[in-house]
């Protein structure tokens, strides 16, 4: 199942709420957490990351990866991002609940 449009931001924010990570790790973690149910179009991650950074929801810092000793950009959630995450999470749950009510009525 592909990631639905408009939900990528929420997924990124949720992933970063656990711990800071670089782009590749974020993609891996989304697929892992969804038990490989969600398949990410990996390239689309980067416009989303940069837009979130631009909006001040996450901040990116260049550092050195421990395993590969390579220069990587590590993103972490900002306070602003944290409040957006909780708002969007609540929205999403309400949405899912409503969808469930509608679909649950079917025979």
């Amino acid at each position: 199942m592909d990631v639905r449009q408009g939900t990528l931001d929420l997924l990124v924010l949720r992933t970063l709420a656990e711990e800071p990570a670089h782009g590749w790790a974020i993609a891996q973690r989304i697929e892992m957490l969804s038990e490989d149910a969600l398949r990410l179009n990996q390239g689309s991650l980067y416009p989303a990351l940069h837009k979130l950074e631009d909006g001040g929801y996450i901040s990116g810092k260049w550092g050195i990866a421990e395993d590969t000793r390579r220069r990587v950009k590590v993103y972490s959630l900002t306070a602003r991002g944290r409040s957006r995450l909780s708002a969007e999470e609540a929205d999403w749950r309400a949405y899912v609940q409503a969808m469930e009510l509608v679909l649950g009525g079917q025979p």
Partner: protein
């Protein structure tokens, strides 16, 4: 950064990133490369070959370049890349049409250049604050002027020394200084006796200004030391920037003064009157000048007061306290503080900056002058801008097809707008920068010729800001019309290349051309008339014989108030001149005919009526020398006026008072007493214009009469009537004789009177030259406007003309089709301009030298010049229309 609100912080971050966009782009590529490496590594671990692993990773990622581009767009960096691309594109576009670009940029540069120069001069003269600490605390204090000649006294008169002391010690101000400036005979290190302006000031002057000198010290506190602080320019030029200048001795009006300080380079003085040589103690003044300021005379008002108001006290409070002080002074010194209409004098305080900006007498005149200069500038700029708009319009038309194709292919209007605006901006930058340079050059030129160190007109940040706003506003606003034409195009018609025939007949554009041509016609007629007037004035009848008339301008400054040597010098010159071979008669006069006759009038004469009097003080020989005819009465013999002066009046005076004034008495001021009127003479011309002769009074006195010489100013004009052909030899002999007999005097200038008239008219001549220059610029602008308009039409109608040519029309007809509308509007403009010129000249003859004669030749010359310019402007567009190849035109976009 932390203190900023989030929205600003984000904007700042974005801006920072945009500025570092190339680095940011490298980082982005790095980030994605890392991702791909990690993905490939995972595939490799799953057993794929290295090449297959890389392929699989790329596949997972999706189109790499697309995502990079989307990321850049998400970050706003793309704008900057587009900006660079647009810039490159705009430069290419401009290079493909060099003539159009250069003409548009030059047109803009001319407009901007004039704006820069005039704004810089106005700014330098009136709005630049004095280069001293806290200039806003500085104020000027005036004692109201007396009511005189029926005119109400004005509040901005000078003050006397005792009044200054009372004002200084009143406690209203932290410090106050007084001074007045006057030209003096200065002997410096690199020049002999020369006239320089010295500002005589009280010793607190530099304290009031809080000025730190470039070298040396300010004037000593006592104010009696023979010393001087020189200006930086003088130090650089006349002292060759000698580091040992402080301590050297110069001579001012024969008194040695030692240089104690050098003013800082940016300080040019507090008076707007030519270059100030230096600042010397006011109290020293009686010893060094002819006009002694009588320090104990409360009624003798000659000082300008500069005072520093404490920062915390308001102008209103100061005003109230000065009113109270004026009241006290009026009751304590009723004689000096009562005006002629018996009202008391008043004290007025004005901020220094406001005095510069015209808060003084003539403030209204200044404001209206500034207003008309502003309107004129707006007009010049408007013309330049409409020209640029016309040219851009022609270019936009050639690109309608291209724009339509790009719109069809999906280019956004925003991107195309940005691209077209970029071209306008580039043009603004080009025109603005060259205009700035041109303005600088014009400012330097004007400074060297007219300002001469009185103030610093160098353009500052304020002028730069005005220039940038003008250049940007001009191009952006006028770049919008072409933009609408290019973008608002109906895509289908543009793609089908149907000529926008309806759009080519624009009333607005035609009217702009007509207005420009009208202005050019008016200015050309005016400049031809002014130039003609300049030629005429030599032939003009001045009311007296000009040829064979020499004048020696004497300067008695070097004798100061020496009551023996000074009059002896004047009398000696007359005696020497009369004895020279070739001299027929000799007479001297205080004022140069056609010069300024009113200086000192209020001290000399108190006419009973409110006549607008002009006057001169002459010796009996004056009338014979200038060959002024006597109408009635009898001219006095020298012996008759040796002890007491008499009056001779002009015919205009006799007409004004009615009846024969001979035998009556004229009431002179306190210095002259009553003057018997002994004769009426013909009117001499008092001005170089055609204004009617004014009532004129000649005070006739003996040469070098002691009482008179002390009273009158330091100059004498000795006139010599010589035999034809003897001018040069007499002049040489007189100079030689005077140098032997009076070696200490400033050398006199002996010249034909016509040369003096030329000097008096120098300003008017400069004005006439300026009129010619403005006319030429306006002509060029009108020609450029016409060129742009015709080019636009030639381009717009290429296809239509191509069809007509294919159907058998002749090239000449095609050319005429383009030229017709331009010619029609130009003719209307010329007629309007010529009609406007008639009333303008009728008014102008009172101001123009040589009378500004109403001469049809000037009209014909102006129209002919315009025709030549119009033909030159129309040449290229009409050739283009006539040279259209039908086959090419039908393919033309």
């Amino acid at each position: 950064m932390m203190l900023l609100p989030p929205i600003l912080r984000r904007a700042a971050r974005r801006l920072l990133r945009m500025l570092r966009w190339s680095r940011a782009d490298r980082d982005l590529r790095d980030e994605v490369a890392h991702h791909l490496e990690e993905a490939a590594a995972r595939h490799l671990a799953a057993g794929l070959s290295p090449a297959a692993a890389r392929r699989a990773a790329a596949l997972d990622f999706g189109g790499r370049d697309r995502w990079l581009e989307e990321t850049r767009t998400a970050r706003g960096v793309i704008w900057l890349q587009h900006l660079f691309a647009d810039g490159r594109y705009a430069v290419r576009q401009m290079r493909s049409t060099p003539v159009l670009t250069v003409v548009a940029a030059l047109s803009l540069a001319a407009g901007i250049g004039v704006v820069v120069a005039v704004v810089a001069l106005i700014n330098g003269a009136f709005f630049k604050p004095l280069p001293v600490p806290a200039p806003e605390e500085l104020h000027r204090v005036y004692t109201s002027r007396d009511v005189f000649q029926g005119r109400g006294g004005e509040p901005y008169g000078w003050s006397s020394y005792p009044d200054f002391e009372d004002i200084r010690d009143s406690g209203i101000f932290t410090a106050a200084a007084a001074g007045f400036h006057v030209s003096a005979a200065v002997v410096g290190p690199s020049f002999g006796p020369a006239r320089r302006t010295v500002h005589w000031v009280t010793p607190d002057y530099f304290d009031v200004l809080r000025l730190r000198l470039a070298a040396g010290r300010p004037l000593a506190p006592g104010g009696y030391e023979p010393e001087i602080v020189i200006s930086h320019r003088v130090w650089r030029r006349d002292f060759q920037a000698d580091p040992e200048a402080v301590g050297r001795v110069i001579e001012v009006n024969g008194v040695p003064l030692s240089v104690v300080g050098v003013a800082p380079p940016e300080f040019l003085g507090t008076v707007l009157d030519g270059e100030i040589f230096g600042w010397a103690p006011l109290l020293l003044q009686p010893r060094t000048a002819i006009y002694g300021v009588p320090f104990d005379d409360r009624g003798s008002r000659r000082l300008e007061i500069l005072a520093r108001l404490p920062a915390e006290s308001s102008l209103a409070t100061a005003r109230a306290r000065l009113d109270a002080l004026a009241g006290r002074l009026a009751s304590a010194h009723p004689e000096a503080w009562r005006r002629r209409d018996d009202s008391p004098h008043l004290l007025t305080i004005v901020p220094e900056a406001a005095v510069r900006a015209g808060g003084r007498p003539g403030g209204l005149a200044m404001a209206s002058a500034l207003m008309s200069i502003g309107l004129l500038l707006a007009g010049v700029l408007l013309v330049a801008c409409t020209n640029v708009a016309g040219l851009l319009l022609a270019r936009a038309l050639t690109r309608r097809h291209e724009v339509a194709v790009r719109l069809t292919l999906g280019a956004s209007r925003a991107r195309l707008t940005a691209q077209l605006l970029m071209e306008s901006l580039l043009l603004a930058a080009l025109g603005g920068a060259s205009g700035w340079l041109l303005g600088h050059w014009l400012t330097r030129l004007i400074e060297a010729r007219f300002v001469m160190g009185a103030f610093d007109p160098a353009p500052d940040g304020r002028v730069l800001a005005i220039t940038m706003v003008a250049a940007l506003g001009c191009t952006v606003v006028f770049g919008l019309a072409p933009l609408r034409l290019a973008l608002g195009a109906d895509i289908r018609s543009a793609l089908q290349r149907t000529a926008a025939a309806g759009r080519t007949r624009s009333f607005g554009r035609g009217a702009v051309i007509a207005v420009q041509v009208a202005a050019a016609t008016l200015l050309l007629v005016a400049s031809f008339t002014a130039a003609g007037g300049m030629r005429n004035h030599q032939r003009m009848d001045p009311g007296f014989q000009m040829s064979g008339l020499l004048v020696a301008q004497l300067d008695r400054t070097a004798f100061r108030s020496d009551t023996v040597r000074s009059p002896a010098y004047s009398a000696g010159v007359v005696e020497l001149a009369a004895a020279l071979p070739g001299v027929v008669s000799v007479g001297s006069a205080l004022h140069m005919p056609m010069g300024d006759f009113r200086a000192g009038l209020d001290e000399m004469l108190q006419p009973d009526s409110a006549l607008n009097l002009a006057f001169n003080v002459v010796t009996p020989g004056f009338f014979q020398t200038l060959e002024l005819r006597v109408a009635s009465g009898r001219l006095p013999r020298p012996v008759e006026v040796r002890d007491s002066p008499v009056a001779v009046v002009s015919r205009a005076y006799a007409r004004a008072v009615g009846g024969n004034p001979v035998g009556g008495m004229l009431r002179g001021g306190s210095r002259l007493g009553r003057l018997p009127v002994v004769a009426v003479v013909d009117d001499a011309r008092t001005h170089l214009t055609e204004a009617p002769a004014e009532p004129f009074v000649y005070v006739v006195r003996g040469a070098g009469a002691p009482a008179a010489t002390r009273t009158f100013q330091a100059h004498d004009n000795v006139f010599l009537r010589v035999r034809p052909g003897a001018e040069a030899s007499v002049a040489r002999a007189l100079v030689r004789g005077l140098r032997q007999r009076f070696p200490e005097a400033l050398p006199p200038r002996v010249r034909p009177f016509s040369a003096v008239v030329g000097e008096i008219t120098a300003y008017q001549e400069a004005g006439a030259r300026a009129a010619v220059a403005i006319g030429a610029v306006q002509l060029a602008l009108a020609a450029v406007g016409l060129y742009g308009m015709l080019l636009f039409m030639a381009v717009a109608r290429t296809r239509e003309l191509g069809i007509r040519l294919a159907l058998g029309a002749r090239p000449r007809q095609a050319g005429w089709a383009v030229a017709r509308e331009g010619v029609a509007w130009s003719v209307r403009g010329t007629l309007a301009g010529a009609l406007l010129a008639v009333p303008a000249l009728l008014v102008g003859r009172y101001f123009l030298i040589g009378g500004g004669a109403f001469d049809p030749i000037n009209f014909i010359a102006a129209v002919l010049t315009l025709v030549v310019a119009a033909v030159a402007a129309a040449w290229a567009p009409v050739r283009r229309a006539a040279g259209i190849a039908p086959a090419a035109a039908l393919r033309h976009e």
